[in-house]
């Protein structure tokens, strides 16, 4: 247990140190907001804490911060419109604290949900077709020899370049246009990984199956597919990262207002960089979350694997 705490504590501390340095750096060198907003300003897009100071001594902070310190001499009436959206109200250290939803929380969450749906749809489509074609090529050597060179070649091309074409084919506002981009991006690494897993079976393991007079079908299910699991999950990990990239970058070329990529480009175009940053952070968190889900699934699917032995 202690080891686990230590394992997670170190990166969390690093994150806090980076955020504090960033905050102090921007504040002390007076870096312009449009170049690099402070973390506290970015976070204020999601939520704000209004802290009512008991005395007049504290200096009033600007109202676009994560923590807004309000001295007693500031009239609360002016803050009423903002405070109306409060979701929590409590006191701590003798101060009243009001927690308010950030102005961009709802639009960003809505956009995140929309983009996540595109990414997941593309993930499902790309992975399933990649695996199916891989199974076919592993079964019929001719198909493998015919397809693999193209798959390997396509895997090293910037498939995202097709995004405008997909937008044109399926319509800018149709989430399927982004799913198609994601699916094509994922298809090749997924197929290549699966084929490798199905084919790179130990010769002795195959001979063992032959000595039992096992059918091709039995060899597939009892040997080739279990053997391909580590390769399959490597494919899933690559696909998880690509799916968020594909969806967000696909949206950079156009899409409905309620999509993360569109939100980011529009906010940036209007010089509202703190909300653009907030949306970027959410996109990153979604990417990491997808990856973690795959890691957890991997542990469940193959607890026997080398990487989980201790």
């Amino acid at each position: 247990m202690n080891d686990r705490v230590q394992k997670y504590l170190a990166p969390v501390l690093v994150l806090i140190v980076i955020l504090v340095l960033w905050e102090v750096w921007v504040a002390s060198f007076n870096i312009q907001k449009f170049l690099l907003p402070r973390p506290s300003v970015i976070l204020a897009n999601f939520a704000q804490f209004f802290i009512f100071e008991p005395g007049d001594t504290a200096a009033a902070t600007s109202t676009d911060q994560f923590f807004v310190f309000v001295p007693a001499n500031v009239s609360r009436d002016k803050l009423e419109p903002v405070l109306a959206g409060k979701f929590a109200d409590f006191s701590l250290f003798g101060r009243q604290i009001v927690a308010v939803k950030g102005a961009n929380l709802d639009p960003i969450l809505q956009a995140a949900f929309f983009t996540l749906r595109e990414a997941l749809g593309g993930f499902a489509l790309g992975c399933s077709t990649g695996i199916l074609i891989a199974l076919a090529t592993a079964r019929w050597t001719v198909t493998r020899e015919a397809f693999m060179p193209f798959a390997i070649a396509a895997n090293s091309t910037p498939i995202i370049a097709f995004a405008p074409i997909m937008n044109n084919w399926f319509g800018l506002d149709n989430p399927f246009s982004k799913m198609a981009i994601v699916a094509i991006m994922i298809f090749f690494p997924m197929m290549i990984n699966t084929v490798r897993g199905l084919v790179s079976v130990d010769a002795r393991s195959l001979e063992l199956m032959r000595s039992y007079a096992a059918s091709d079908f039995e060899i597939l299910f009892k040997l080739r597919i279990p053997n391909s699991l580590p390769y399959l999950f490597n494919g899933f990990k690559i696909a998880a990262a690509l799916s968020m990239i594909g969806a967000v970058v696909g949206e950079y070329f156009g899409g409905p207002r309620i999509a993360l990529g569109v939100f980011i480009t529009q906010e940036a175009a209007l010089f509202r960089f703190s909300s653009a940053w907030a949306a970027i952070i959410v996109a990153c968190i979604l990417g990491i979350a997808l990856y973690l889900v795959i890691l957890a699934a991997e542990r469940l699917a193959m607890p026997w694997h080398v990487s989980f032995r201790n």
Binding site: R204, S205, E207, R210, S211, Y212, A213, L223, H305, R309
Partner: protein, 261 residues
């Protein structure tokens, strides 16, 4: 006399026939093996002993001659699941527990659930690994893994056990213990064993007959009957007759080497 388990006549096997790297792997092999014999194939590396084993197990084809296993072709014998195979590497499936590995052939042969579990329990008891049924292969030592492989090979009661240097990668102590264990198992199960090795001691200790082979082309140079009494145990290794037989095999090997020069 009973029908022989293995009957090989004028067997020849050539790899890469008609090419520049043509290798005459097996030349004019004649070999008859009776039920419940324990046969060791011994010879220098490259003498084709593993190839001969693989021919018997129908894992590789032949160039000419005749191979009959239980009075049918080797191919038919494989389809009839007459063989249990044990390789030098245990070749357990990483994703299966010990018990599930032993069950693999039983699954393929559609045993009922009760029979599958019953057989697995019996086999794990036979190789003394009952406490490890739920372990994964990586949690076992090399010797234990090889015992699981033997349990798996015997699980479906094949009439012939083919073993290709099964203890070659193990240390001397483990090898001697497993030799004893294998003899016990062989006597309990009444299977015919064909065992490839390059250890003279191991061959003499285990076998009822030692077949000495020579290399390039691989052929049988001597067929030595091992008349040590059964059951054999650690004392057998200190028996005078044991040393005589060891010497006989060693000299046969030397002769087959020098003949080549």
């Amino acid at each position: 006399m009973q029908n022989p388990v293995v009957s090989i006549q004028n067997l020849n096997k050539t790899f890469g026939e008609g090419t520049a790297n043509q290798v005459h792997a097996l030349k004019d092999i004649n070999l008859v093996i009776q039920p419940n014999e324990f046969i060791s194939l011994i010879g220098p590396s490259g003498c084709g002993k593993s190839t001969l084993l693989r021919v018997i197990g129908d894992l590789t084809g032949i160039t000419s001659g005749q191979v009959l296993i239980n009075n049918k072709s080797a191919h038919q014998a494989r389809l009839d699941r007459d063989y249990g195979m044990v390789f030098q590497a245990a070749t357990l499936y990483d994703w299966r527990t010990v018990a599930k590995n032993v069950q693999l052939p039983l699954e393929l042969m559609n045993y009922s659930k009760e029979k599958k579990e019953g057989r697995t329990r019996e086999m794990l008891a036979l190789v003394e690994l009952s406490d490890f049924a739920k372990h994964f292969p990586w949690q076992l030592s090399g010797g234990m893994q090889q015992r699981v492989a033997i349990a798996r090979a015997l699980a479906f009661e094949p009439s012939i056990l083919l073993m290709d240097e099964p203890f070659g990668a193990l240390d001397e102590m483990t090898r001697e213990r497993l030799n004893l264990e294998l003899l016990n198992i062989w006597q309990k199960t009444q299977t015919t064993v064909i065992f490839v090795t390059h250890s003279i001691t191991e061959a003499v200790f285990l076998s009822t007959r030692v077949i000495v082979m020579s290399a390039r082309p691989g052929r049988i140079t001597q067929d030595i009957k091992i008349d040590l009494p059964h059951p054999r145990n650690t004392d057998t290794r200190e028996n005078v007759r044991f040393f005589e037989l060891e010497t006989e095999v060693r000299e046969a090997l030397r002769r087959s080497e020098s003949k080549r020069e």
